[in-house]
Subunit: 495 residues, 2 copies
């Protein structure tokens, strides 16, 4: 009896997937011993009868089996199951618990590190009610012009195809020339940052920018790095991972308190336009003091400008990295907020004296960012789509911000007070009296309202309590509903 | 006189770029003082006359200028150049030479590090004659089915668009689910590596895989890491950057000499299928000894399987990371060779006990790889295009390999002898007598023939001399021409 009739070949999936599915099933049958060594496979011309696939498809399947060592070809005779099979067994769990024997770099298993990097990880929610998500720095991808991005990306890929063949990254480790060019224009217009394309390094989002800067700027177990407190946990982890001595420095209503930075600090990390998470803008006085500190102490500044494109009225100020501070400021920007975080594209504008060294490290980390992503974003900017999208988002966010501030005042004004914030997509509010914000946030989570208590952003003393209200991913209606629910929850716990 | 007539607005570029160009020119005119504070800008309805752009375009330009602080809007009156301008000046070189004051992490400025990472950097060539490029691990991008990849990527992006909005990486830091699924199938068929999608982490090419492994597996200034010598310099740098004590271990015709690995080594890096650069396959005896060493010494193995998809007749062997060694082997694969290096996509198959820790580090490094790249490659694999492309390349490479070996024997057999090699896209050949290979390679470079002398791959004692012949980016005709030229050059120096 033909052994093939005993193999339950399942014809599932689309026709185009059938070949792979059959190959996998034949492989399994060979490993299981259902097809014994030496068994001849049906000739490919009989494949339509045996397998219900074309002769060409069968040839492709046999070729895969051959190259993986499952079958052998005998000249003029046919295809046979190999005598010596690949040494494959169903995946076992590790036979030895090597984890108890091998010692990891302990940094990566510290609970504070894994907690900080799990920062954006979603907490489980019941999906009976839609979630109202006030977490900061979220982006509503429904607003993104996918169709335009798809078209531009395709055009750019087509242009790439016509370029001469070469292994080397056509654009170099520093980033695609056309993208760096587009970045220079984009930040000149939206952030008044004047720089040259030679000053720009493309990174895989702001997170890789922090990681890259940390590796180059920090001498392990030596360099002291001052970080705003409260601040952005994943940035702290990048510097700690590089071996920095991380020193939390408090923030007041003028921003980072420069006078509190110890003199031996060599790197200062902050978000001066829109302090994360408090939302404050660092005052001009503090900015001047900061640059003076850096120059006097042989230090440098890392400016995280994650949402500076969205600027509203009031006390808005340009980036810290103006021409006047180009010698000491590393400016980090990202397309996560103004486009999509899943594109994983950001950049550093670095002092000219540091570029070469940063590029060496980027090279070691991953050579460069994927070319199709870089040219797609470059085209999107060059054709004016980013400027248009930012204008659109700015209008939407302005409206949401207005609704949020109005409702905060009207319904929660008794308990919390918003801090002034002129940028981005979140506003923080601090408690007027005592209020257990962690408990309130936990209680709201049960009602599918996600909001962060300020406490989770502190490394040192929790000098403030309150909430962060992100409005990147909530509609105006959701903002109203969310604040109403908060009012009830707060009223129930504070009475 | 209207000040606008004194501004030489240049109408260059495509219409769609004109708005940006005009905005930049107006900005420059304001900064230069040609448009003085308080000057009223023409009303947008007059824009066609003044600027030759539509009213809408002019509104967009003004909006950019407004949001960047160059102009102010006065209600019911119009748009005026702002009194207080953004503090922008033409980009100066750093006013202070901060580089002499700031201390980098010295690792990144060491000459050996920058040299090793400049490994693939192109040397200048005269372009009178076409270049014959024998450097190893090159890929001929002309063979890549760009049209298919473009279509699949577009389809995948369209599907992504329809997914619900969320900030969080829809796929998690470990990599897109559909890509990991496709990887599991791909390596099962081509490399007989059996694993589960939970064992796979997607990385930005093999280089990020090495960097990621180095950060997690190495305790800085403590962990000893054995690396094949000769070996792959960028991998060595990744481990050294993480603070490893890098220990070069010699290779013989059976591969890495396991008996020479010091007992305190905790990580062993090698390319067992196709040793880089010698091309040898590690013998079964050595493989067993290696796994036994790892188990006995609480060590792990990093297997670099960069071109295992291209397997020819003879002594080919499956991957070291079979089910039987799943507890100690970290398998690193890449789509750089079988697709394109500029896609920057690779992966690690890790022991189950290590996944969580690797994901924490990946998270810190850049969250995850760009979603559009991941889903594009996943679709390309799932629809069978990768298998087809690999089959096509395998045929082409087989032919080139044949031509290369024939010509090496016929024309250079007097001086050099090819080492056995059953995989990939390069063959190494060692000298029979004494031959100054560095000098010959330099001399050939002047004739636009690029070839690497083996010497550049050694970290310790240069125990072999010879050349590496890569055939990824040369046609059969070029191979013949290149070998002929080498014969002449070698004959001229060795007589």
């Amino acid at each position: 009896m033909d052994p093939f009739f005993e193999i339950p070949l399942v014809r599932d999936g689309a026709p185009r997937n059938r070949a792979r599915s059959f190959a996998a099933q034949l492989k399994a049958a060979i490993l299981d011993g259902k097809l014994r060594p030496g068994t001849q496979l049906p000739p490919t011309r009989k494949a339509p009868t045996f397998f219900g696939v074309s002769r060409n498809t069968a040839a492709a399947i046999y070729d895969e089996l051959l190259s993986a060592g499952y079958v052998v070809m005998r000249q003029g005779s046919g295809t046979y199951v190999a005598d010596t099979l690949p040494n494959i067994a169903p995946r076992p769990k590790s036979e030895i618990d090597h984890s108890s024997k091998f010692r990891f770099n302990e940094f990566w298993i510290r609970p504070d590190v894994t907690a900080a990097m799990g920062f954006w990880r979603d907490s489980p929610t019941t999906h009976k009610n839609p979630v109202i998500d006030f977490r900061p720095a979220l982006v509503d991808s429904r607003l993104f012009p996918f169709d335009v991005f798809r078209r531009v990306s395709s055009q750019q890929l087509r242009a790439l195809e016509r370029k001469p063949a070469a292994f080397k990254s056509p654009q170099g480790n520093q980033g695609n020339h056309s993208l760096r060019n587009a970045i220079v224009e984009h930040i000149a217009l939206t952030r008044a940052v004047v720089c040259d394309i030679d000053d720009v390094i493309v990174t895989s989002g702001a997170q890789q920018a922090f990681d890259l800067l940390a590796r180059v700027l920090v001498t392990p177990n030596e360099t002291a790095v001052a970080i705003e407190d409260p601040g952005y946990p994943p940035m702290r982890v990048a510097f700690a991972a590089a071996g920095a001595r991380v020193i939390p420095v408090a923030v007041d209503d003028e921003g980072l308190i420069v006078e509190k930075i110890p003199a031996d600090v060599r790197v200062i990390c902050l978000s001066p336009s829109h302090q994360f998470p408090l939302g404050l803008t660092t005052s001009m006085r503090r900015r001047k003091a900061l640059v003076a500190f850096a120059r006097a102490n042989n230090a440098v500044i890392v400016e995280d400008d994650y949402d500076g494109e969205f600027r509203y009225a009031g006390g808005a100020m340009e980036a810290l990295r103006t021409a006047g501070a180009a010698d000491v400021v590393f400016y980090v920007g990202t397309f996560s907020k103004c486009m999509l975080p899943s594109l994983r594209t950001g950049f550093i504008v670095a002092p000219d004296w540091a570029i070469k060294t940063l590029v060496a490290a980027k090279n070691c980390m991953d050579w460069h960012c994927p070319t199709p992503m870089q040219i797609g974003i470059a085209g999107f900017i060059a054709e004016g789509h980013l400027a248009r999208h930012v204008r659109k988002l700015r209008q939407i966010y302005r409206e949401r911000r207005h609704v949020l501030l109005k409702n905060l005042k009207q319904h929660l004004g008794k308990w919390i007070e918003p801090l002034p914030s002129f940028y981005g997509t979140h506003v923080a509010a601090v408690t007027r009296g005592t209020l257990d914000c962690d408990r309130i946030a936990a209680s709201l989570a049960e009602k599918n309202i996600k909001i962060h208590s300020l406490s989770r952003y502190f490394l040192g003393e929790k000098s403030l309590s309150g909430f962060v209200f992100g409005y990147g991913a909530v509609t105006s209606d959701q903002i109203e509903d969310g604040i109403h629910a908060m009012r009830k929850t707060i009223a129930s716990v504070s009475d």
